[in-house]
């Protein structure tokens, strides 16, 4: 979108297969880009998720504009490249309340911390889960295996 190109000239802007705009920014610019999108009317946060490429994580926040008169409006996906361990970004849950649960799920599954999130806990897994962050590609399930079929001594 034009306003993104004007305000953040050093960010990389691309397009997804179905026409959505993606903008790759650094961690420091992330909050400013999101604020710029919110001011431009993209107030609906569709999803916050992350992709685990083997050498880095990419955080994705999708913002859309709900304008009943507009047909075929495209989303803006704000992407941030992060290290695989110890990553933390500012949270957009205060600005855009729809991102609250999605950020908790991204923390739960990928281990990205969101500074400033009002309720920073695991959401889908139990609160006392110690096994790590499951959707990372090097996740190993360390839960004890349950016995499957136990043959009784007196079975024929």
């Amino acid at each position: 979108m034009d306003f993104l190109q004007e305000r953040f000239p050093e960010a990389q802007i691309g397009a997804l297969v179905n026409g959505d705009i993606e903008i790759l920014v650094t961690k420091d610019e992330y909050l400013n880009v999101v604020k710029a999108c919110l001011e431009a009317g993209y107030t609906y946060c569709s999803v916050v998720t992350a992709i685990d490429w083997k050498d880095r994580l990419t955080l994705i926040a999708s913002l859309c504009r709900i304008n009943p008169a507009e047909i075929d409006a495209r989303n803006i996906h704000v992407k941030v490249d992060l290290p695989r361990t110890g990553a933390h970004v500012p949270s957009i849950a205060e600005l855009c309340p729809g991102a609250n649960f999605h950020e908790r799920e991204t923390y739960d599954m990928y281990g990205i911390r969101f500074d400033g999130h009002p309720n920073h806990r695991r959401i889908l897994l139990p609160d006392n889960w110690q096994g790590g962050h499951p959707l990372l590609k090097d996740f190993i399930d360390k839960r004890p295996k349950r016995p499957r079929l136990v043959r009784h001594r007196y079975a024929e």
């Binding site: 992709i51 047909i71 309720n119 889908l124």
Partner: protein, 382 residues
């Protein structure tokens, strides 16, 4: 002066009115709710991690099981996302597109019937719940004739459908109630002429029901947009946004239908009315599909390679499912397995509304609000 203390009550994972295994922690001052927080994760089945070790056609049955009340719509989202990744290499035949829309709208009716029936039952009106099941059984019979199973279909394929409609399932436009579980026209006529007036007379116009739901759980339209609401929750708050019109996927731009909206500060009754009216509009779309399908035979599966390997890329495809906007963020790296599947579920996002909508109302209204948001835990937890 004596003071009451706030009581923290657990509407625990096992509860007859929470539509599944949802835990709601509620702080009460007397009978008024002061704080409400949902706790989800009791039905987490590791859908997203599983998909990374399956091939693309093997993911389709899993997408069914996210929303078990209206599974075809979720299959549609995944299948269309994968087809978008392929781009020009796969064309879906037109007959397959029309059958997809036909089944999607039938499932939307079935899912809304379940939603309104459960909401009525939670509020106390136990009879309409069985009316929902009576009519859902008819959709199950129709779908069993087409796909082979009653509930979780695995019918859509990347590039088309598994098989064409059987002979005689469309019927003729003057089929009546006796054929309502054998032909589509029978079902549509029965639905429009008998079922909807019954619901209007028994529940929508019922004074007690209106007292329980009017003025309860009011949601302003800018809050609805900020909290990520979509589907009947967003439209019940006055925002005329429907992905079938504003961002049409398959061939929704060929059909004529209206979008019902509630008023600006939508309450539970508005969301109820939106669901009722959406069922009528879905039956209108079904009639248009049936007219086209009766005249246009054809094949239902496009040419696809034997092993599906989409080119490298990412796509975020959104579809209007029964409960809202379901999104599939699909990342492919050229191998037969998806690299990442993120399932954006509408009910998960709608549960964020519970802390906002419940405070100030009585504990019995929490059940009405939860019913009007209409959650299905399979979607919430995946």
């Amino acid at each position: 002066m004596e003071q009451t203390k706030e009581l923290l009550v657990n509407m625990g994972p096992q509860h007859p009115s929470t539509h599944g295994v949802l835990r709601l922690m509620v702080k009460l001052d007397g009978e008024t709710v002061t704080w409400c927080q949902p706790d989800v994760g009791y039905l987490h089945r590791c859908f997203e991690k599983l998909c990374e070790s399956k091939t693309y056609p093997q993911v389709i049955p899993f997408t069914d099981r996210t929303d078990y009340a209206g599974p075809i719509l979720h299959e549609m989202c995944f299948v269309e996302a994968a087809e978008k990744l392929f781009g020009e290499a796969i064309t879906v035949p037109e007959r397959a597109q029309y059958i997809r829309v036909l089944l999607a709208e039938l499932q939307r009716i079935g899912s809304h019937l379940l939603a309104v029936g459960s909401m009525a039952m939670d509020i106390g009106a136990v009879t309409p719940f069985l009316y929902s099941w009576r009519d859902r059984e008819k959709t199950y019979s129709l779908l069993e004739r087409i796909t082979g199973t009653r509930m979780l279909y695995n019918y859509f394929r990347i590039g088309g459908l598994r098989n064409d409609l059987p002979e005689g399932i469309i019927g003729s436009p003057n089929d009546g109630e006796d054929k309502s579980d054998q032909t589509f026209w029978g079902f549509v006529n029965y639905f429009d002429n008998y079922v909807m007036p019954q619901w209007d007379a028994l529940v929508t116009g019922n004074r007690i029901f209106q007292w329980r739901t009017m003025g309860v759980g009011c949601l302003k339209s800018e809050d609805a947009i900020a909290y990520g609401a979509s589907g009947p929750v967003l439209r019940g708050s006055g925002v005329k946004w429907d992905l079938r019109k504003n961002l049409p996927n398959s061939i929704y731009n060929r059909f004529e239908f209206d979008i019902p909206v509630g008023k600006e500060n939508g309450d539970c009754f508005d969301r109820w009315l939106v669901r009722m009216e959406e069922m009528r509009q879905s039956s209108r779309i079904i009639k248009q599909c049936l007219q086209w399908l009766a005249e246009n035979p054809g094949e239902v599966m496009g040419k696809v390679p034997r092993i599906l390997k989409p080119p490298k890329g990412e796509v975020y495809h959104r579809v209007e499912a029964a409960r809202g906007e379901v999104g599939c963020y699909l990342v492919s790296d050229g191998s037969p397995n998806p690299y990442k599947v993120k399932w954006r579920s509408p009910c998960f996002t709608h549960l964020q509304l519970m802390p906002k909508l419940c405070p100030g109302f009585k504990i019995a209204d929490v059940v009405a609000i939860l019913g009007s948001i209409d959650i299905v835990l399979g979607e919430v937890d995946r």
